[in-house]
C-alpha cells in the first residue's frame, strides 16, 4: 500500500487521468447503491423487523418484492437498511480515521523533532497490531454495540492516512516552491491551503475509498461471527449467517446480502483504482 501511494505521488501526474473509466464506473455504482440505501427505507414502507411467519421464505415477486426471510421479514427493507447501515458506518469510520490522520500527518511533517517521532512510534505500534484484533479487544468491553466497533476500526485505519499525509507533506516541504512562497511573504495557512492540501487530496480520496471498503468488510465479517452487531439489526453480514440454514429452500435470499457487500466494495475499489492506475 505504501509503495503504491508513493508511486502515484509523482510530480508529473497528468490531470487527464484524474477521472479514468474505472473511477467513473465506481462512482456511478456507489451513487446507485447510495440511492438504494438512502431512498430505499423511505420508499419501501415495510419495517425491517416486522415478522410475518405465514410469509416465511416467501419467493421473489410475491407480496414481497425481493421475497422474505425465515421470519417473513421483507428482504427489500432489510437489504436497504443493511446497506444504509454499512454505508453510514463505513463513511463515519473513514471520516474519523481520515481527519485526525491527515491533521497529525501534516503536523508531524511540519513540526518534525520529538512530535514527529512520537507520532510515528504511535502509528507503528498500532500498525503492528492486526486491525481486527484491535477491534475485537475493544468489542470485548461491550459486545454487539456500535461504539466499540466504530472506535476500533477508526483506530486501526487512521495510520494509513497519517503515513501518507506525513510522507507527502515532508516531500513537499523541501521543494523550492514552498521556500519561494515563504520568501514571497506567504504564511503557513496559505501554504497549507494552496500548496500542501491540493497535493494530498487526490491521494486521500484513494485511501478513503480503500478504508471504506475495509470498514464494510470488517463490519460484515465481525457481525457474521456474532461479535459485531447482533440480530435483529439488519446487518448484511449477520443476514447471510441467519439465512444460511435455509440455503436449500431460498438460495437467492442468502446470496443477495453477499451480492450487496460485493457491489459496495467493488464500487469503492474501482473508485480507488482510478487514482492508482494510469
Amino acid at each position: 500500500m505504501m509503495l503504491q501511494m508513493q508511486g502515484l505521488a509523482g510530480p508529473d501526474r497528468p490531470a487527464a487521468t484524474a477521472w479514468p473509466l474505472s473511477r467513473r464506473i465506481g462512482l456511478g455504482l456507489l451513487a446507485l447503491l447510495a440511492a438504494f440505501a438512502l431512498l430505499g427505507p423511505l420508499l419501501v414502507d415495510a419495517d425491517p423487523a416486522r415478522q410475518d411467519l405465514s410469509a416465511s421464505l416467501a419467493p421473489i415477486g410475491s407480496d414481497f418484492l425481493l421475497g422474505a426471510d425465515h421470519y417473513g421479514r421483507s428482504l427489500l427493507a432489510r437489504l436497504a437498511h443493511g446497506a444504509r447501515l454499512s454505508f453510514g458506518m463505513a463513511l463515519l469510520t473513514m471520516l474519523s480515521a481520515a481527519v485526525p490522520g491527515l491533521l497529525l500527518g501534516v503536523l508531524a511533517a511540519w513540526r518534525g523533532g520529538v512530535a514527529e517521532r512520537a507520532l510515528v512510534a504511535l502509528s507503528d505500534i498500532v500498525l503492528a497490531l492486526p486491525g481486527l484484533l484491535l477491534v475485537l479487544i475493544l468489542l470485548a468491553f461491550a459486545p454487539g454495540h456500535f461504539l466499540p466497533l466504530y472506535l476500533g476500526l477508526s483506530l486501526a485505519l487512521w495510520v494509513e492516512f497519517f503515513r501518507v499525509a506525513r510522507t507527502t507533506t515532508a516531500r513537499l516541504l523541501v521543494e523550492p516552491r514552498i521556500e519561494a512562497a515563504r520568501l514571497l511573504g506567504f504564511g503557513t495557512p496559505y501554504i497549507l491551503r494552496h500548496q500542501v492540501l491540493p497535493e494530498i487530496a487526490p491521494l486521500l480520496l484513494t485511501l478513503a475509498a480503500f478504508a471504506m471498503g475495509t470498514a464494510i468488510l470488517a463490519i460484515s465479517t465481525l457481525s457474521a461471527i456474532s461479535v459485531g452487531l447482533q440480530p435483529p439489526t439488519p446487518e448484511l453480514g449477520s443476514m447471510i449467517v441467519e439465512l444460511l440454514p435455509y440455503y436449500a429452500e431460498a438460495p437467492l435470499a442468502v446470496l443477495m446480502p453477499g451480492l450487496l457487500i460485493f457491489l459496495l466494495v467493488l464500487g469503492l475499489q474501482l473508485t480507488a483504482r482510478g487514482g492508482t492506475v494510469r
Binding site: D12, E175, P176, R177, A180, R182, L183, L184, Y190, H194
Partner: protein, 461 residues
C-alpha cells in the same frame, strides 16, 4: 563521404499540428552532426524519432536510414532491440537515467555482462571507471555523485555499449568549463573511433568544439545547415546570427557603475554538512546596484552561501547583516529549475493575484511589468507546465521584482535556459540592478557569463 545515418524528409506531427517538417540530414563516420536550436525547436523530437521513443499520439513520417535499414518501418519490439546495441543515448539529465539503487561499478558492469556477454565484466567496469576518472567513486550510488560525475558515468556506460550510433541530448547542460572541455574531448574520441555522433544542444560553443556539420533548427524546420565552422563564422540566417550573439562570450561588457551602500554583508561565515566543510570564515559584501558573480565547482557550497545570505539557511558560525529598514520580503531568490518554484496546479494569473492580494499591489503595475518582461497577458491562463523555461523564469523575475527587492540571489537562474532566453533574463537583471539599485548574487559556473554580467566575481575553493 559515405553517410551511415540518413534522415530524409522527416515530418513529426501530433493530430493536426506539425512539430517538425521536412527535416533531412546525414551523419557520417568521422563527421558528427550537431542540431542547434532553442527549446521547443523540435530538435529533441528528431532524436526521439530516431530512438523510437516519441510520446503516444505523436507520429513520424519520412525515412530514417541507419546503415540502409529504415527505422521507421520497424516494429516497436525490433526498435527496442536496437537500443544499447545499435543506438546509444546519452540522456539529458544523466542522474535521472542512472539506476538510483545501483552503484557506479554495477551500472557499468551490467553493460559488459549482458550486452557483450563478457565474463570479466567487473574488471572491464573498473577499467572503464578509471578511464573517466571515477575510480574512487566505484562504490558510490548516483545520489552520492555530483552532476558532472553522473555525466561521466553515463558517458562511460555509453562508451562501453559501443553502439555504432550515439545520440547526445544536451550533453553540456549544467557542466562547468573544465567538465565541458573534458566532455568535448571524450565525444571527439568517440567520433575518432568511428562512431556516428548526433548531438542536440543550444550551446554554440559545444557545436564549434565538436566540428563536423551543424544544422540550426527553428520551429521544427532546419533554417540553415553546413560545416560547423563555416556556419558559425558566416551565418546566413538571421536566427543563426541571434543564436550566436546570445552566447555569453559574444555579449557586450557591462559598463562600470558606481555601487551604492552595502545592502547585505556576511562576516565570518562557516558551514559544514556533517564532516564535509563547505567554507569557513568567509566574508562577503554586496552593495546596491552591484552584481557579484559566485563561481565554483559543483558541491562547493555556492547555493548554501546564497541561501545563508537570503535567510533560508543558517550558518554554523558568523553573521549576516542586512541593510537597516529593508523588509524581509525585499530579499529574494531566483531558482535554477524554474518549474520547481511554481505551484503546478495554479495558473500564472492565480499566482500573481495571490501575491497582489498578499502585498496590496497595484494591478496596473503588474500589467506594466509583465509587458516589460515580454510576457503576454494570455499566459495568465496557463499553468507552469505549459510554459517554457524562459517564460517561467521571467514570471519568477516578475514575481520577485514586484516586491521591490534590494537583494536577489540568482541561483544558476539561467543555466537551464537556452541562449536567447538566458540573454533576456540576464538583461533584465542588469537593467534592474542599474536602474533600481538591486544587489544581485549571481551563482554560475559559466566563466564567460560571469565575466559579462557581473561587476566582480568570487570563486569558492
Amino acid at each position: 563521404m559515405t553517410a551511415a545515418l540518413h534522415i530524409e524528409d522527416l515530418t513529426i506531427r501530433t493530430g493536426d499540428r506539425v512539430l517538425v517538417s521536412g527535416f533531412s540530414a546525414a551523419v557520417g563516420r568521422g563527421a558528427p552532426l550537431t542540431l542547434l536550436g532553442e527549446s521547443g525547436s523540435g530538435k529533441s523530437l528528431v532524436a526521439q524519432a530516431i530512438m523510437g521513443t516519441l510520446p503516444p499520439g505523436v507520429a513520424a513520417q519520412g525515412r530514417i536510414l541507419l546503415d540502409g535499414t529504415d527505422l521507421l518501418r520497424l516494429g516497436p519490439a525490433a526498435r527496442r532491440a536496437l537500443w544499447g546495441r545499435r543506438i546509444g543515448l546519452l540522456p539529458q539529465e544523466p542522474w535521472t537515467a542512472l539506476d538510483p539503487t545501483m552503484r557506479a561499478e554495477g551500472q557499468l558492469a551490467e553493460v559488459h555482462r549482458y550486452v557483450h556477454g563478457r565474463r570479466d565484466a567487473g574488471r572491464a567496469a573498473a577499467a572503464g571507471l578509471g578511464e573517466v576518472g571515477l575510480a574512487d567513486a566505484a562504490r558510490h550510488y548516483p545520489f552520492q555523485m555530483s552532476g558532472g560525475m553522473c555525466q561521466r558515468l553515463a558517458l562511460a556506460v555509453a562508451h562501453a555499449a559501443g553502439t555504432p550510433l550515439l545520440l547526445a541530448d544536451e550533453p553540456s547542460k549544467g557542466l562547468d568549463g573544465a567538465l565541458r572541455a573534458d566532455l568535448v574531448a571524450r565525444l571527439r574520441r568517440e567520433v575518432e573511433a568511428g562512431r556516428l555522433l548526433l548531438t542536440i544542444t543550444h550551446d554554440v560553443g559545444l557545436a564549434r568544439a565538436l566540428g563536423g556539420t551543424a544544422c540550426v533548427m527553428l520551429d521544427g524546420r532546419a533554417v540553415e545547415s553546413g560545416p560547423t565552422a563555416r556556419l558559425l563564422d558566416a551565418p546566413a540566417h538571421a536566427y543563426t546570427r541571434a543564436l550566436i550573439a546570445a552566447d555569453p562570450a559574444a555579449w557586450p561588457a557591462r559598463p562600470p557603475g558606481e555601487p551604492g551602500p552595502p545592502v547585505i554583508a556576511g562576516t565570518g561565515l562557516s558551514k559544514a554538512f556533517g564532516r564535509r566543510r563547505l567554507f569557513a570564515d568567509l566574508t562577503v559584501e554586496i552593495r546596491a546596484g552591484e552584481i557579484l558573480a559566485l563561481a565554483g565547482p559543483s558541491g562547493s557550497g555556492k547555493t548554501t552561501l546564497g541561501n545563508i545570505l537570503v535567510g533560508t539557511e543558517r550558518p554554523d558560525r558568523g553573521a549576516v547583516r542586512r541593510a537597516p529598514g529593508a523588509a524581509p520580503v525585499r530579499f529574494q531568490k531566483l531558482y535554477q529549475d524554474p518549474p520547481a518554484a511554481f505551484v503546478p496546479h495554479q495558473t500564472m494569473g492565480q499566482a500573481l493575484d495571490h501575491l497582489a492580494r498578499r502585498h496590496a499591489l497595484d494591478p496596473a503595475r503588474i500589467a506594466h511589468l509583465l509587458a516589460r518582461l515580454k510576457l503576454p497577458a494570455n499566459l495568465r491562463k496557463q499553468r507552469p507546465g505549459e510554459l517554457s523555461g524562459g517564460e517561467l523564469q521571467r514570471f519568477a523575475l516578475a514575481r520577485v521584482l514586484l516586491l521591490d527587492p534590494v537583494f536577489l540571489f540568482a541561483d544558476e537562474a539561467t543555466s537551464r535556459l537556452d541562449p536567447l532566453n538566458q540573454r533576456e533574463v540576464a538583461e533584465i537583471l542588469r537593467e534592474a540592478s542599474a536602474r533600481d539599485g538591486l544587489a544581485v548574487l549571481f551563482v554560475t559556473h559559466d566563466a564567460d557569463l560571469a565575466g559579462k554580467i557581473a561587476d566582480r566575481s568570487i570563486a569558492l575553493r
